[in-house]
Symmetry: C2
C-alpha cells in the first residue's frame, strides 16, 4: 500500500516562512507522499481538479490557497480527508458543507499564542514608559524629557487584570511573573483548577476587573455577547495612571468610546492597541494622533520568523492523522460557527 498523499499548496513566500529546512525535514520524515503545488496557480480554474487528480488525502496550505468548492468529493478512498491550515480563520477556505460531510480541518491553534502574548508584554511595557509618545515626539518633534516632571512607570509590583483566560493569557503569565506582579482574570467559563494552576485570582465581574487593577489586558473572544462589552463606563473606571491593552479582538471594545476616554484622560490613562473594530484602521480614526496610545497594525502573531511554529504544529497533526489519532485544534461545526 502506497503512502497517503499530502498536497502542499503554498506560495513561494509561504514556503520560505512556514517551511525552513529544519521544519521541512520533519515533514519529510512522515510516511506521506508530498505533492508540492506552487501558488498562485497559472490556471486558477484548474484548482479543484488538481486536488482530485493528486488523490490527496491531506492538504497543507495557508493564506494564498484558493477556497475549496462546496461540492468537492471528500472522505472517500483517494479523496481529501484532512486540511491542515497554517493560519487562523478557515471560513474563507472551507465551506461549512465540507465539514458537515466529515472533512477534518485544523488551524494554527495555540501555536501562535506565545508571539501574541509577547506583543502584549511589549504594549504593556510601552504603556508604562509611554514609548509610543516618545517615539513620535523624538523622531518628529525634536523632543527630550523634562527632568523630574516626566512621568515614567514600571511594570514591577503592578496588578494585572486579564479579560479572558485562554491560551494567549496563559502564555502571557510566565512573561509577566519576573516582574513580581499580581494577576487576576475575568473568565466565567474557565474552571477554578486553571486559575489555581497559574496562580491567578478569579475576578468576579468586569466592573471589579477594570476598576481594581493597574493594567487591563483585553483577551476576550469576539462573540455576539461580547460585542462592545467593554463600555465607556468600564474604560473610565480604570485607575488613574492605569493602562488598557488590547491584543484580542477590536469589536469587543466600544472603540468610539475608547477614543473619547483616551482624549479625556490624556495624562492619566495609557493605551496599547494591536486590534481595531475596522481593519485596516481608517486613516481618519480618532485613535491616531493621541499621545497616550501606542498603536500597532495587528502584528501580534505569528511573527514572520515564528511562522515555522505553525507548520511544526501542523506536522504534529499530520502525524496524528496518519495514526488515526485525534487532531489538535480541530474545527468542529461549533467552532466554525463561532469563528470570524
Amino acid at each position: 500500500m502506497s503512502a497517503p498523499v499530502v498536497l502542499t499548496a503554498l506560495t513561494q513566500a509561504e514556503r520560505d516562512d512556514f517551511l525552513p529546512s529544519s521544519v521541512q525535514a520533519n515533514l519529510d520524515s512522515l510516511s506521506l507522499r508530498q505533492v508540492p503545488l506552487l501558488l498562485p496557480l497559472a490556471d486558477p480554474a484548474s484548482w479543484p481538479k488538481q486536488i482530485v487528480d493528486s488523490k490527496a488525502e491531506a492538504l497543507l496550505c495557508a493564506w494564498g490557497c484558493p477556497p475549496l468548492p462546496s461540492d468537492l468529493p471528500v472522505g472517500g478512498p483517494g479523496q481529501l480527508r484532512y486540511v491542515a491550515y497554517l493560519a487562523g480563520s478557515v471560513r474563507k477556505l472551507v465551506p461549512r458543507q465540507l465539514i458537515e460531510k466529515g472533512l477534518q480541518v485544523t488551524n494554527w491553534g495555540s501555536s501562535v499564542s506565545r508571539t501574541i502574548s509577547e506583543c502584549g508584554l511589549l504594549l504593556i511595557l510601552s504603556a508604562m514608559r509611554r514609548s509610543g509618545h516618545w517615539n513620535v515626539a523624538m523622531h518628529r518633534d525634536g523632543a527630550w524629557k523634562d527632568g523630574m516632571k516626566t512621568v515614567t512607570q514600571s511594570l514591577f509590583c503592578r496588578s494585572i487584570g486579564l479579560h479572558g483566560f485562554g491560551a494567549i493569557a496563559q502564555e502571557l503569565i510566565p512573561l509577566l511573573r519576573p516582574f513580581g506582579v499580581s494577576i487576576s482574570a475575568f473568565s466565567p467559563s474557565v474552571p477554578d483548577a486553571v486559575f489555581q494552576k497559574y496562580g491567578v485570582t478569579r475576578s468576579t465581574s468586569l466592573e471589579n476587573l477594570f476598576s481594581n487593577h493597574d493594567i487591563i489586558v483585553e483577551l476576550a473572544p469576539y462573540t455576539e455577547k461580547n460585542h462592545h462589552i467593554v463600555t465607556e463606563k468600564l474604560l473610565r473606571s480604570i485607575r488613574p495612571g492605569g493602562a488598557f491593552i488590547n491584543i484580542g479582538r477590536g469589536a469587543v471594545v466600544d472603540e468610539a468610546a475608547l477614543a473619547r476616554v483616551a482624549k479625556d484622560r490624556i495624562d492619566d490613562l495609557q493605551i496599547g492597541l494591536d486590534v481595531y473594530e475596522t481593519e485596516p484602521l481608517p486613516k481618519d480614526s480618532p485613535l491616531r494622533g493621541l499621545s497616550n496610545i501606542a498603536l500597532l497594525p495587528h502584528i501580534a502573531g505569528p511573527t514572520k520568523d515564528r511562522r515555522q511554529d505553525t507548520a511544526s504544529f501542523a506536522i504534529e497533526n499530520l502525524q496524528s492523522f496518519l495514526q488515526g489519532k485525534t487532531l489538535q485544534s480541530l474545527i468542529t461545526l461549533d467552532v466554525y460557527d463561532r469563528s470570524t
Copy 2:
C-alpha cells in the same frame, strides 16, 4: 545619649516620589532623629550653616540638594559622617576632599537596576516588532501593514549578546529567560562563577559578541578605555535582521558611526536607544527620523513610581550606618574617580 540626627533635605516632589507613606514608615522606625529640610532653600546662602546647626551625622538627599562645600567639617562629634544620596552620580554634590577626609557617601547602587533592565526588554521587543516605526507611521502618516510583506520578529528562541555583565545585565536575565533565549556576555573582569550562576556563556571578544548573536545589548560602563569601543566595524558586523540596544552609556558607542550604519542598514538592522553621547539629544541628531531606531529620552531608570526603591535601599544603609556596619554601594575614591 540622644539619637543621631539625619537631615532629610528634599524638594516636595522628591518627598512625594522617594518617600511614600510606607517607605517613610520604615525611615521612622530607625533610631534616628529626623530633621526635615524642604528644598529649595529660601536663603541658599544658609545651606552649609543649616547642616552644621542641625548637628546632622547623616544627610538624605537627591537631585535638588545644593553641593556640599569642600571645607565642611566632617567626621567629628555632631558633624556629618554619611551622605545617603538617592540618585546616581555624586560628583556635583560631594567634593573629592570630603571623601578623602572620611565622609561616607552612597548612591542608589543596584536598586535601580531592575527598572533599567525592564527598559532594555522594552527596547528589545520594540526592535523585534519595529514598534518605534509603527508608532510614528500610524500616528503621523496613516500607515497600516502590508500583509505578508510586513516584517515582524519575535524574541523567542533568539541569541542575546550582552556587552557588560554587571547588575543591570544580571537583572535583565530573568526577564529574558521565559523567551527561551541563549545568552552570552563579554565582560573580561567578571569571574567564571558569575557566568555559571546565571547560565550565561562567556564571549571571548567583542568581535565574536557582535557578529554571532541576534540581539546585542550595550551595558558596558563608560571609562576612558571604553570611549567609542563600539566601532563602525562592530556595528556593521551585526547579523542581518539583528538588533542593537543601548541602555548603558552613550559615549561607549561611536554615535556618528551608529547613525551611518543605521541609515545604510535601514531594512536589516533594528536599533533601540535610551542613552546618547550628548544629552539632551540634539534636535538635529541624525538618529532622529530613522525608521529603524526606537528612541527614548534616557528614562530607563528609576521610573517615577519606583523611586521609592532607592529610598528603601538608603534606609537599609542608614540602618547599617547606625550599627557601624559596612554600607552598600559606598563611593570609594576609586569609584568616585571613575564616575561621570
